[in-house]
Amino acid sequence: MKAKTKRLRLLFVLLVLFFTGLLISLLEGPVETDFRDLWDFITNHDKTLGTIFIDLRLSRALLAFLVGASLSLSGAILQGYFQNPMAGPFIVGVSSGASFGAVLSIYLGLSIQFLGFSLQSIFAFASGFAIVSFVYLLSQRKGVYKVETLLLTGIAAGAMASALTSFLIFLKAESFEQAVFWLLGSFALSEWNQIAAVFPYFFLCFILAQWLAKDMNLLVLGDDVAQSLGCPVNHIRKIFLAVSTLLAASSVSVSGIIGFVGLIVPHWIRILIGPDHRHLFFFSSLTGGVFLLYSDLLARTLLFPTELPIGIITAVIGTPFFIYLLSQRK
């Protein structure tokens, strides 16, 4: 019962934060606007204000939320999967891999749609998946994951993918802006069809994760125990790996790499409400969304009128946290 009130309280706080953040996002921007303008738009449907509020600011805030939710859910899954608090889409190299795939498809000029999926997200997924499988295979010794190997292989593979991404951008002599976008992330050019591209993946993955959360709780006890309790370990593992990669890849293909979100958010939640994945997945998603919503607000207001890449904000908040986690391990 006590755990339940705790969760309800957290839910309430998060919802308040979410709506406050959304409202600030709507009112804050290079063009000065206040409540009256917002009201004016709602009652009179002014076209210019409409574009600014709906197409530019609301789409941006919601995309940031969605990407934050995806990355955090991906992180929560990876941490359960590797039974390791230091896993996350950025650390394991999925994000960098996905970013490389997306840039590669742009470099090859492949902007075709295939069965409703853009080739860019397929490439992002494939190369993110390749990296995570590589890391998975290397960090496994007789079914046991060595934390050091996992982290080092992940970071090495991620660095390699980032280097290749930079190389492709350099080859094409496209502007510096491209490199900054893919390597540090930004929501500056958000649009509704990006939300339409990410949301189905998130929705599907969220349902799947929530559905299999109980099995994830068993996996944490060790594969043997889980198997003996009737959990089809191999299948479950495959599904979770695909789900977490899909989440990271779809976010990266619309926003570039945004590091550390998937690492720190699930931690906060674990501290706040405990390690039960049935709640962990839901709250990680919600908190991750809110966290990125506010990070993006900072990114676009801190150095006004220019914008900071959002990856800088999340790294500044995330790195000390990562180091703290490392020091705790001894």
Partner: protein, 302 residues
């Protein structure tokens, strides 16, 4: 519907097409996207300094509502609303200015241009090219979309005249000096074959020592610089003060003592904005460059 009625309808339709249809034209921009021309644009946004310079030269200064933070010429341009930079133009600011024509160029990030288009804002994107002739083409295109074709034509003629004059003064040049362009503040950054500067050097009867490299900008090798031994070094900078600093640092470099340009103190200043913006002032840059490189031909002229 009887025959007569149909006849009148057809006639009205044709009349309409003659009277109003001719006002609407669709042309493609340099990225291949259509731009629909209706009445002359009244609220123009420029996404690059050279575009701003051309628009003002076509007497359209009053119609400009937004420029980049780098647009500082002519002076009136810097008083216009700023919409951000060339690589980070702000969509909100652009939208709020309610433009009926946005002129961008290939140096603006493609992703941003795409987003501007998806907001249904009227965008026309220009290719910058690599030589002086493309500047004439730019002026012509901007003249067409702003419906100032006549003005553009006479303006181009006047620029051409100045260009022809420089060419006739320089026609007897025998020796084409080897020149190195130094982009101040960036080490040995210089301009390659695909830069406007390379074209200017050619037209001012000189040889850009980095002209064999098929790039716009590149970082030159120190050893290569000593080996190629330029007779003249041109430092592009924003001010005389910056220039003297850059010149001093070149002279202080011990390895460069043997370079002809350094030994004979043939190190000159060229206004960076003049020479790197593919706008009308490129002709000014060409004149200055010609004077620097071949002063003897211009003495007699005066």
């Amino acid at each position: 519907m009887n025959y007569k009625k149909m006849h009148t309808a057809l006639l009205l339709f044709l009349l309409n097409a003659v009277l109003f249809g001719s006002q609407q034209r669709t042309i493609k921009d340099d990225l291949g996207f259509p731009y629909i021309m209706t009445s002359p644009p009244q609220r123009i946004i420029s996404l690059a300094p050279n575009i701003t310079e051309i628009i003002f030269a076509l007497d359209l200064g009053e119609k400009v509502v937004g420029v980049t933070r780098y647009c500082d010429f002519p002076e009136e341009a810097s008083e216009k609303e700023k919409i951000g930079g060339m690589i980070d133009p702000n969509l909100e600011n652009i939208k709020a200015l309610n433009p009926d024509l946005i002129i961008g160029f290939r140096g603006n990030p493609l992703r941003i241009l795409k987003r501007i288009r998806s907001l249904h804002l009227p965008l026309f994107v220009l290719e910058m090219g690599t030589n002086l002739e493309t500047v004439f083409l730019l002026i012509k295109k901007i003249g067409i979309i702003t419906q100032k074709e006549k003005k553009a034509e006479t303006f181009i003629q006047s620029l051409r005249k100045r260009y022809d004059k420089i060419q006739s003064v320089l026609q007897n040049v025998k020796h084409e000096p080897k020149v190195f362009f130094s982009l101040h503040g960036m080490g040995l950054w210089t301009s390659g074959r695909e830069s406007f500067l390379n074209d200017l050097a050619r037209k001012a009867k000189a040889m850009n020592i980095a002209g064999n490299v098929a790039r716009r900008w590149l970082h030159y090798n120190r050893e290569e610089l000593i080996h190629k031994d330029p007779e003249v070094i041109i430092i592009l900078s924003k001010s005389q003060r910056e220039f003297s600093k850059a010149k001093q640092s070149l002279k202080n470099e011990a390895h460069f003592e043997g370079i002809k340009a350094v030994a004979t103190d043939s190190i000159y200043f060229l206004d960076e904005n003049l020479a790197t913006r593919p706008g009308p002032r490129l002709i000014d840059a060409l004149e200055e460059l010609a004077r620097i490189l071949h002063p003897q031909f211009f003495e007699t002229e005066r």
